[in-house]
Structure formats: structure tokens, C-alpha cells
């Protein structure tokens, strides 16, 4: 056993002796209780939190009858859930992006989902699940969930972009990671064909083990899959955001080179299926979920945005397409400055703000109209 591993295990033993699961659960219960008192939670999050608090209380009260390993795992599950909830107490949540992603998510996950958002101070986006109810139903059967089991999905996006939907296009790539993880797509692809389809020309040291090579292959496949996924919702703008952030990034063990990713997305958009894309579609078919295709229609927002008016979205394909169209519109405004509202003195910053605001209002109006018609129909 390696020294660091021994050290880690020793530390964990000492730590768990001092900070016992029971004590940690008390701390977590208090912390979640405080979250529940916030006025910024939605009704659904309040319900979720109340049920989680009931489950924690049940485990604390019945600890003696539950295996210590299960209690430890329960604690980890609740810890993760707390992290997700804690990131969602502010009223800064980007409601419009949540709305778009919830629409996209609905065709990939049949379970009830609750989306929470964590604003990050860095440049990172993420989209990850927490599923405490699956664990509780299986390992804490004494607690009656009464059929309540929504999946908690956390969006993570830079605080800087919370009201900049056009700059949040990367979330569709992250949604791809979520779908991949939830359905096991790229791992299934490794099962069906482990040959080096993704790392292709990456020079792996000859001393690397097969397992090491397969790990790198899997990491690259995940990124290619999510690039295709993002392109299925917002077209080439998804990869253009990557090019804007990391134009010349070379391949690493976790990510393909930006240039290779551009080529892969270009092939997908133009309908040229490479072996990897075909393998993904085979896996999606196997898992009985939709194949990746174009899920968006970019609406003609130009004449509306030129008049500084939001566009009226007709359906969900236009909803996703609005982001793609707005990305192009913004690029054109910045490059050519031809929109009628742009004056000689208008700065790039003002152009960005106007286009992002119009996009945000367009998405918000679609959501409000939907709620209105749902309410009217009820």
C-alpha cells in the first residue's frame, strides 16, 4: 500500500472517531434547517428540504438499528445534497437558463427533477445530479418516502454570467455530461468498442497500461459526446464558446484538442457521421433515448432585436434556437455595428448588454406565456 494511501486511511479513521456520523448529521440538519428558513427557496425546494430533514431525523433516531456503513453513506449523500441546496438560496438564480435547460432535460429524464443553481466565482460551468431518494429507498427502508423521489439537478455557472444567457451556452454541453452520466452512454460505448476512436493520434507513452489508455479514451469520448450534444441544441455556437475561451488548447489526458473538437462538431452539424458519432447513436438507441439530432430552429430574431423588442418564441425548438440566433446576432453587431440602434458612440459593452437583455427577456416572456396558458387551461 502506498504511503499516501496509508496516511489517508489513518486520517479518515481518526477523523471519523472524532466527527462521528451522528454528530455530522446533527450539523447537517441544523444547516439545512437554516436553509429552509430562507425566503428565496421555491415551494418545491421547501418541500424537498422538509422531506430531507425528516429523513435525517429518522436516521438519527434509529441509528442503533442501521448499519454504521449505511449511516456513513447516508451522511455523505446528505452532505452532497446540502451542497446543492446551499447554492440555491439566493435570488440570483438565472431563471431563464433554468427554464431552457429544464425543457431540454425533459426528453432525457422521465423522473421528476428539481433544478438548483450554484453561482461560481470562477469560469466553470457544471450540471450534476444528486439522488438522495434512491439511496434512502434502498438502504433506509424504514423511512417512508411515500413515492417522493425527485432528482436534484444542480446547475453551476459563473456569477459573472448570471444575466448573460448568451454566455451560458456551455450549459448545454454540461447537460450532455449529465445525460451521459445518467444513462451511461460513453461507458456503454467503451463496452461495445474500446478501440482508440477518440484519442486517435494522441501519443500515449508506450509504458502506459491498457487501463490507463482506456481511461484517457473514455475522458475524450465524454467530451466529444457533450460537444455533439451541445451542438444538437445550439449548433456551432456551442463550440464557438470553447474556441473563444481556449482557442489553441492542445489535447490533454482529460480533453481533446480544441481543433479536433471543432472538426468533430463541424462533421456532426454537416451530417457527416464519423465512427465515434455512429457508436454514440447506437448507444443512445440501446438505452432507448433519442438519437442526437438537431433539436433547435434558430428563429429570425433580427428584425425584432433591431427594433429593440424581444422575439416571441413559438415552441421549444425555437427556445433553444433563440440562444444560437442571439449568439450570431451579437457577433454580427460587434463585428459590423449595422443594427439601427447602434450609434457611433455605442460601446461594445453596451452592445453586449442590449443583446443579452433582449435574449433574456425573450426567454422570460416564453416562460411567462407558458405559465399563463397552463393556468388558463387548468
Amino acid at each position: 500500500m502506498r504511503f499516501r494511501q496509508r496516511l489517508h486511511i489513518t486520517f479518515c479513521r481518526l477523523w471519523s472517531n472524532v466527527l462521528r456520523s451522528r454528530i455530522d448529521l446533527f450539523l447537517l440538519r441544523n444547516a439545512i434547517n437554516q436553509l429552509a428558513e430562507t425566503t428565496y427557496f421555491s415551494t418545491r425546494l421547501h418541500e424537498f428540504t422538509a422531506k430531507i430533514l425528516d429523513a435525517i431525523s429518522y436516521v438519527i433516531e434509529n441509528e442503533a438499528t442501521i448499519a454504521p456503513t449505511v449511516v456513513q453513506n447516508f451522511r455523505s449523500t446528505i452532505h452532497r445534497t446540502h451542497m446543492y441546496l446551499a447554492g440555491s438560496t439566493t435570488k440570483e438564480a438565472p431563471y431563464e437558463m433554468e427554464y431552457c435547460l429544464k425543457k431540454a432535460l425533459s426528453i432525457w429524464v422521465s423522473r421528476d427533477t428539481i433544478i438548483t443553481t450554484a453561482l461560481t466565482d470562477g469560469h466553470d460551468f457544471h450540471f450534476s445530479p444528486a439522488d438522495p431518494w434512491k439511496f434512502i429507498k434502498t438502504f433506509v427502508p424504514g423511512f417512508a418516502t411515500n413515492g417522493y423521489d425527485p432528482l436534484l439537478v444542480q446547475l453551476g455557472l459563473p456569477r459573472l454570467y448570471r444575466h448573460k444567457p448568451i454566455y451560458c451556452l456551455a450549459l448545454y454541453h454540461e447537460l450532455g455530461h449529465f445525460v451521459d452520466e445518467y444513462h451511461g452512454i460513453t461507458k456503454l460505448s467503451m463496452l461495445l468498442d474500446p478501440s482508440p476512436l477518440a484519442i486517435g493520434h494522441l501519443q500515449i507513452p508506450t509504458t502506459a497500461s491498457t487501463a490507463d489508455k482506456e481511461r484517457v479514451e473514455l475522458s475524450h469520448r465524454k467530451e466529444y459526446f457533450c460537444d455533439m450534444f451541445g451542438a444538437a441544441y445550439v449548433g456551432s455556437s456551442s463550440i464557438e464558446t470553447l474556441v473563444a475561451i481556449a482557442p489553441n488548447a492542445p489535447a490533454s489526458n482529460s480533453h481533446p484538442a480544441t481543433s479536433d473538437r471543432q472538426r468533430s462538431v463541424g462533421a456532426f452539424i454537416s451530417g457527416r457521421a464519423d465512427p465515434l458519432a455512429l457508436l454514440y447513436q447506437k448507444c443512445l438507441t440501446q438505452q432507448k433515448i433519442p438519437n442526437l439530432t438537431k433539436f433547435f430552429v434558430p428563429p429570425s430574431i433580427g428584425k425584432y432585436f433591431d427594433d429593440i423588442r424581444p422575439y416571441q418564441i413559438m415552441d421549444s425548438s425555437e427556445l433553444h434556437g433563440t440562444l444560437s440566433a442571439a449568439w450570431s446576432y451579437l457577433a454580427t453587431c460587434l463585428d459590423k455595428r449595422e443594427a439601427p440602434w447602434i450609434e457611433h458612440s455605442t460601446t461594445d459593452e453596451e452592445i453586449e448588454r442590449v443583446v443579452n437583455d433582449l435574449t433574456e427577456k425573450t426567454l422570460r416572456n416564453a416562460s411567462i406565456r407558458e405559465r399563463w396558458s397552463n393556468g388558463a387551461a387548468a
Partner: protein
């Protein structure tokens, strides 16, 4: 496709140490399998019925798929996929899984051996 020179130069500089830095961790999907086996290893007689049923079901699906070369018509659970990948990458794991009885008849030492074998692969990267 040919790599550009920058990529090749970069690739040539990476070695085993860098490769070993790719994270290896137990996935969320495999956690129920691992936890159930851990309870068997500990000799617990109170393993929840749902956990035991789930474990036996997963093992049964894994065996079936290993025999029919993954030509399966219904969706394959991510947990099954990951367990098969583990089996493929871990020497000795397939024999151990093949000879497993139902969960309630698995001796603690067999559970211990399987967990040790899997954990060796998950050994921390330096």
C-alpha cells in the same frame, strides 16, 4: 488525422505520472453494489431486502451480458455497464462474479476478496 506538432510535442512530454493523475474513483452508480457487498463483508444480517434484490439482479444482468456479448435489446443500467467495465479491467474479478451465489449466501471472506480486488484498482493516484 495527423496531430499538429504542438500536440505531438506535448504528448511526448507526458509520462506515466501524468497518466496516473487521471482521477480514479468509485462512481455513484457502483456505490449501491459496493455498499451491499461491504455489509456482507461485515457479516450484517440486516441487509435491506431491496438492496439484496438489487444486488442479485445486477449480478444476474452482468452474467447474461457477459455471455451474449452485450447484444441486449433493452436498456442496460449504467451500474451494470460500469461493473462489466470493472470486470474487464480487473484480473480475477470475472471468476469471482461468475461463482457468486445469491447475496444471502455469500460468505464474508468472498465479499472481502471482491472488494479488495476492486479497491486495488481504485488505489489513489500519487
Amino acid at each position: 488525422l495527423k496531430a499538429d506538432s504542438e500536440t505531438i510535442r506535448w504528448a511526448q512530454t507526458i509520462g506515466d505520472a501524468v497518466l496516473a493523475a487521471v482521477p480514479r474513483e468509485l462512481s455513484q452508480h457502483l456505490n449501491p453494489f459496493w455498499l451491499t457487498l461491504r455489509l456482507v463483508e461485515q457479516g450484517r444480517s440486516d441487509i435491506p431486502a431491496d438492496a439484496a434484490r438489487h444486488f442479485d439482479d445486477i449480478i444476474s444482468q452482468v452474467r447474461a451480458l457477459l455471455q451474449d456479448s452485450y447484444s441486449h435489446s433493452s436498456p442496460i443500467s449504467p451500474e451494470v455497464v460500469e461493473l462489466i467495465l470493472e470486470i474487464r479491467a480487473t484480473e480475477g474479478l470475472r471468476n469471482a462474479i461468475d461463482s457468486l451465489p445469491k447475496l444471502n449466501a455469500i460468505p464474508p471472506e468472498i465479499a472481502h476478496n471482491i472488494l479488495s480486488t476492486m479497491e486495488q484498482r481504485l488505489a489513489f493516484a500519487d
